[in-house]
């Protein structure tokens, strides 16, 4: 059906032809369920794209800073369709971090949610290259009612259409460049492994490539109804209302589900004679809607015990793997042959091999390079193979990960952190003699060596935490009695702490 898909325009045309009046997207607004059909979505995206062109916003970089919403998704489709380049900002990043991405990407237009008003004000004040601003809540309606005879540019889908910012090992985020064909074709091969139906529940933030491309496009290829969650605070209430068939999570969220099911089951068992498994099944059905059959996990290592507990509740837990550079999923466990412990089967259009234990991947849709950083782009490849930085082995076309080559920390919520970046901040504490940031028991931990008062250091770390994005905040402080072991060149040996 979608074999030759190359552009967003193709996707809109084909999904309208196949699924026209079916619901494509839904969301809750003021407690009321709203839904948009494939046909209406296509019309709305096209109108907004034409409005952009009519306003003279063409061949520009357009940044989006927003929490997930239907309107945000609408813009994410309209921008590339209008021939502009979409720069996707991490909504949870600090104002300074987002401002860096806007400047680095040469953004000329900023689309922002009301929540990002202070960020927009900061940009208007400090970045004169940004000449247009569009507030999602206030302005989308105007763009939807714009009558215009504009013709949109035809494209073959291979030009630059997206820039995603990811954590670099040196701390400064890198802009990963992609085309429409990259995202569409990679997600198509992903959809050959994951068989879904009915409704998919979207809770992961759209600034990540997995939800942005893999989840949204999988849902559209499969003719599903993608429910866009309003955020974690209303997660369970929404799941009970929507009763999704499938959802995509990071391991940290799966752990949260597991904890909630456990707590609810304990309560049930206090007031009934249910055995543990039945109590867990009932709790799970109550919390997650009772129709959930598939959870796809990506972004960070999966806890196998939790996966097994979920599978005992008749929910298939499929682990996948991918990077922004590989357009998200390059391996995933298919429904019909799920192998827990593996990050999945290599997608049909991709090849993988290891050199000195490190995975190298190859397919026709790898990223186009890092924006304005040809040196980093060159370093990311070995001939036409992408160097993943992850270590492991391949068995029967299934991939198994054992660790990471670089120091980058992958948190259970899927965020990547450069420990050096945080260590530089922490070393600004006068009393701090040595510090190493690492992941311990799933928490971002600062291991500290200092002869000074521990309380003072704790307080100062709390102060530093206030200036960091929430996912970069130190979660645990461990004091060590001795200096850290070092190499001959006085570098701390991370592996030995």
């Amino acid at each position: 059906m979608f074999e030759n898909i190359s552009t967003i325009s193709d996707l809109l045309f084909l999904t309208t032809s196949y699924y026209g009046e079916k619901t494509a997207f839904s969301y809750l607004k003021d407690g009321k369920m709203c839904s948009v059909t494939y046909s209406d979505f296509s019309k709305q995206v096209t109108t907004v794209a034409k409005s952009l062109v009519l306003k003279g916003i063409t061949n520009s970089k357009i940044a989006v800073a927003s929490e997930n919403s239907y309107e945000c998704l609408l813009w994410c489709f309209a921008v590339p369709l209008s021939g502009n380049v979409l720069v996707i900002l991490d909504n949870m990043a600090t104002i300074q971090e987002k401002a860096y991405m806007v400047k680095h990407s040469d953004t000329a237009c900023l689309i922002y949610s009301g929540f990002n008003q202070p960020f927009c004000d900061y940009i208007t004040e400090n970045n004169k290259s940004v000449v247009h601003t569009i507030c999602i809540e206030a302005d989308t309606e105007n763009y939807l009612h714009c009558q215009s005879e504009v013709t949109l540019q035809k494209t073959d889908g291979s030009e630059l259409s997206y820039i995603f910012y990811t954590s670099g090992t040196t701390g400064k985020p890198k802009g990963v460049m992609h085309s429409q064909i990259n995202l569409l074709r990679t997600s198509l091969y992903f959809s050959y492994s994951i068989k879904v139906k009915d409704s998919i529940f979207l809770t992961l933030p759209l600034n990540h490539i997995l939800p942005f491309a893999n989840v949204v496009f999988l849902s559209m290829y499969s003719g599903c109804n993608l429910f866009i969650s309003a955020g974690l605070k209303k997660l369970f209430m929404e799941m009970q209302e929507v009763r999704p068939y499938c959802t995509f999570l990071v391991p940290a969220l799966l752990t949260y589900f597991d904890k909630m099911i456990y707590t609810k089951a304990q309560e049930l068992m206090k007031t009934s004679s249910l055995d543990q498994l039945t109590a867990r099944k009932q709790s799970c059905a109550q919390l997650l809607g009772g129709n959930l059959k598939i959870i796809v996990i990506g972004g960070a290592p999966l806890d196998l015990e939790i996966a097994k507990r979920m599978q005992a509740l008749d929910i298939l837990v499929l682990n996948g793997y991918g990077l922004t550079e590989t357009c998200g999923s390059i391996t995933v466990n298919p429904n019909e042959d799920n192998r827990l412990g593996s990050i999945g089967r290599i997608n049909f259009n991709s090849e993988a091999k290891t050199i000195d234990g490190e995975f190298l991947f190859k397919n026709p849709y790898l990223f186009k390079g890092y924006y304005k950083d040809s040196k980093a782009t060159e370093e990311a490849f070995h001939e036409e193979w992408f160097l993943s930085g992850d270590l492991g082995y391949i068995e029967d076309n299934y991939v198994f990960i054992v660790g990471r080559k670089k120091n980058l920390i992958v948190l259970p919520n899927g965020k990547n952190i450069s420990p050096e970046e945080l260590e530089i901040e922490l070393l600004k504490i006068e009393e701090m003699k040595e510090v190493v940031v690492c992941l311990q028991n799933g928490k971002l931990t600062a291991k500290v060596f200092s002869e000074h008062d521990k309380m003072i250091i704790r307080k100062k770390i709390n102060e530093i935490n206030k200036k960091l994005a929430s996912y970069k905040q130190i979660e645990s402080v461990v004091f060590c009695d001795e200096e850290f072991p070092k190499t001959a060149s006085s570098k701390i040996k991370r592996g030995e702490i």
Partner: protein
């Protein structure tokens, strides 16, 4: 309000350490982000305020939450 907040934290999370205004949610109480979001939900209901997930960034200690709620309540009264 501080005493009330401390009691609420004790009831919800049964911490093993003594909780004061200076106690940090992450580094002292070992709460993860979802537990903090859960706490925010309880606070929203109790104090009839709206807390944005992004505000959590600056809520490091129990005192921070206390000041935050006090400010929020003042602002909503002004309106």
């Amino acid at each position: 309000m501080l005493t009330e907040l401390i009691e609420m934290i004790k009831d919800t999370f049964s911490p093993t350490i003594e909780v004061t205004g200076e106690t940090a949610l992450k580094t002292d109480l070992a709460l993860d982000s979802f537990e903090i979001i859960n706490l925010i939900g309880i606070l929203e209901d109790k104090y009839k305020i709206d807390i944005n997930v992004m505000d959590i960034v600056s809520l490091i200690t129990v005192d921070d939450i206390c000041n935050f709620i006090a400010n929020k309540k003042d602002t909503s009264l002004e309106r």
